[in-house]
Amino acid sequence: MEPLSTPPGKLVVAHPERKAQRALQRLVGATLSPVEIVADGPALLAAVDRDTIAIVDAGIAQTTPGLRDRPARAWIVVPGEGLAPAEAAAVDTLLTDGWCHVVAHPMPILAEELLATVQKLRRNDVFGLEKYIAWGAETRSYTLGDARERDDAVTTLAGDVVGVGLPDRVGSLVSVIADELIANALYLAPLDENKQRYRATEVRERGRPLRGRDVVTVRWATDARYLAIEVRDRWGTLDPAEVASRLVNGKSGAAATEGGMGLALAYACCNQFVINLQPDVMTEVIALLDVRYKPTELCRSASFHTFVVDTPEEP
């Protein structure tokens, strides 16, 4: 019997501890891809090629120079020693250094997040909150017909979230996240012919019908493990590297009055922040809140992932 076709490439796990190596091998082994295990930076560099997805311990990631710049399909950082939560400062450093995939949380979130991340990369199938939410959960969707509907969408969403039994604290976080993601889609995504974000300074109280590329869609779902909020625009203009640097630098006093704090605020309110991008076609941002655990059992900084869809070249 021939196996079903699987995407090319291997997975390489780099972690200094044998126990963590075994756990990570089992996790990513669920993809049925070949998995190679190494214990340090030099061995990792020797094992990685262009088709490799590398899963790297945070300590190795921070102490092996030039790692992220080596050609590979993707580099994913996972928490360090004992698979405990990552240190918030380490996550900030990794984001500043330009890592596109930083997993911050311990098991079992690590397992769920890492498997979804690896499969999204392998299959080049990145869009949709369904990748993170259990099959049985219902998804609710809102499409904004006018820019002025932002407040109504946020209020409705927060009310719905509290209505399913989640605490007011989560409803409050959801309000901030949804408001910022929708504002980003409405006012920062659109570009003019000179590549300028011409709606960035638009008066936000003003109505504007949303048609064609200006349509913004909001979806959310919860499965009592996660609450996922997804906001899509049809521009595909978000610069993930710029966003990553703002997530960390948004804390500065200057940033507080210069603007551009919105995504940093949304990131600060969630546990996993995912940017899915098809350049010039669509940006989708998904913010995930873990509703199982006390925040103190998780990393103080959220995980961060950027997925850019490979667009087929013109014939």
């Binding site: 407040d151 605490p167 007011d168 604290r169 409050s172 309000s175 901030v176 408001d179 910022e180 504002a183 936000r204 109280e205 948004g250 804390k251 500065s252 006093g253 507080a256 009055t257 603007g259 704090m261 919105g262 940093a264 605020l265 600060a268 006390k294 925040p295 103190t296 103080r300």
Partner: protein, 163 residues
């Protein structure tokens, strides 16, 4: 007393004291609040603030800067949402403003209830400075509640440090 209404935020100004109720967002006119308050020390009560977005936070920073240039700013009954967002900004960390009391998200380990009681930052100053939140009784079952989040998310603005 004078009232300032901007978008979804109501502000009542009485002497050097302002009470803010509603949403601090794109439509909040906090510049007008600064103009209505007299020169010198001021007090802001934000217990009724239910939502703050990034543009609202930018306006809040500008308001605090303007008032600090004129005297001491004391924040009373800072709402949970505003407290958490102020702690995200370096602008406010290290005790840059005087906070008399604030609301914080607590969870009851016994019954799972969540609430945001008022914490007296003056009475509990020593504990808070050591990055510890006081245990408070659950209004539903009476058990000792604990903070639902990292203490840093509430206490960095008080200049607190872990022992």
């Amino acid at each position: 007393m004078t009232a300032v209404r901007g978008g979804r935020l109501d502000v009542e100004v009485t002497g050097a004291r302002a009470v803010l109720i509603g949403r601090i967002d794109d439509s909040a006119r906090l510049g007008e609040v600064a103009a209505r308050l007299p020169a010198g020390d001021t007090v802001l009560d934000t217990a009724g603030v239910t939502f703050v977005n990034s543009i609202g936070m930018r306006e809040w920073v500008r308001l605090i800067r303007a008032l600090r240039a004129r005297g001491t700013v004391t924040l009373e009954a800072v709402s949970d949402v505003l407290m958490v967002q102020m702690n995200l900004l370096a602008e406010f960390t290290g005790g840059a403003v005087r906070i008399a009391s604030f609301h914080a998200g607590y969870v009851c380990p016994a019954c799972g209830g969540e609430t945001a009681p008022l914490v007296d930052a003056i009475a509990h100053a020593a504990e808070l400075a050591a990055m510890r939140m006081p245990p408070l009784p659950c209004p539903e079952c009476g058990a000792a509640m604990e903070l639902a989040d990292f203490p840093e998310r509430y206490l960095s603005v008080l200049g607190a440090r872990r022992a």
